[in-house]
Symmetry: C2
Subunit: 211 residues, 2 copies
Amino acid sequence: MAQTRVRVRDADATKARILEAAKEEFARLGLGGARVDEIAERAKANKRMIYHYFGSKEELFKVVLEEAYIDIRTAEQSLDLEHLPPREALSKLVTFTWRYYLENPEFIRLVNSENLHKARHIKDSARLQEVSRRFTGMVNDILKRGEDEGVFRPGIDPVQLNITIAAIGYYYLTNRFTGSFLFEQDFMASEALDARLAFNLDTVMRLVEAR
Amino acid sequence: MAQTRVRVRDADATKARILEAAKEEFARLGLGGARVDEIAERAKANKRMIYHYFGSKEELFKVVLEEAYIDIRTAEQSLDLEHLPPREALSKLVTFTWRYYLENPEFIRLVNSENLHKARHIKDSARLQEVSRRFTGMVNDILKRGEDEGVFRPGIDPVQLNITIAAIGYYYLTNRFTGSFLFEQDFMASEALDARLAFNLDTVMRLVEAR
DNA sequence: CAGGTAACGCACTATTTAGTTACTTTCGAT
DNA sequence: ATCGAAAGTAACTAAATAGTGCGTTACCTG
């Protein structure tokens, strides 16, 4: 029976449960709407532990946000786009971005919440700035290769392109509730999702391709 | 002196002040973060009046939101796009949308807040559905005219196009705080704003034009 | 000009919420 | 085995906060 014994006290596990619960709660209700008591309950941890490990609600939010950004940028890096032909690399990036937003809906909501608060929680994270720089560099690389091969037109700003790739997926998903109602169609129906991805791929390709 | 007399009691004026203050407060902090006491104070009205005229915080939010949607759709209608050549009509719409978001930042924030709450406050507004339908029809009309004239390619979905036009402006502005920090440039600098509009016009035109 | 009604204000309540105080229990290094 | 530090708990506080009960005041109508 000794081997089935479960660790009763485990700081790392508790921290991880708190972070996971906090991510859900912050994503669901925003920083202002989230309740610390609720996070503690969902994490099956005592509220005191949240203050013990993270100091305050805002500090907890900071850690959740930073983790969320690191996660997406890490996933992007592992796409290995440098080793694909430019057109394929770009369409893979568009598809990845769309799928990531779709499969990790809390990411979008956390970013929205952070922007409602004017980005004050990430303002001192050099780490996030660093991973963003790498990301822009990657897109710039794809563009340059495409230009050299004559498949992309020259002079495309990688930051503008990044923003657009994110925008056309992000906006559709974050505003799907008002969108579904106002445009009288289910934005989350699987055909609708497929159609949106196809439209977005088309948009980006037409934007970059040399005529 | 009789003519300088100011109305001390004026239901309409008080209602209007409450709505204006509520719009600001809801936009600034979201539905959850907004404080009824603060709205009352900014409106120079007694909190009791908010409950007298609007019933509850959520009902007040509903009215604010509906007004905001009506405002943008009304402004769009007055662009008179039906009487412009297709290409001009479309680029005027892209430019208008961008400028409207820029000049009425509360609109974006209200829509974000409503989507955080899964659009439950507009769910029964047939009026909003009606104005949205008219809007889609207008875009569809432009596309059809362009197709007939041979300047636009056929088969473009007007709803997808609408979403994209909104997305590429909306995302840039709503996420300008995290964006400015992560990409290390001031998203609100006037050259940056001009560059974004130019990029967006380019994106939309390449998307619709026949080759 | 009387008096009813709508506009307005004050002060209160019941509840919720972030954060804390003071304690007990577990665990691993010696 | 034991003991000190880290992990964990329960019950509290002080401040906010949405919403109200009830009384007062201005304005319009007849």
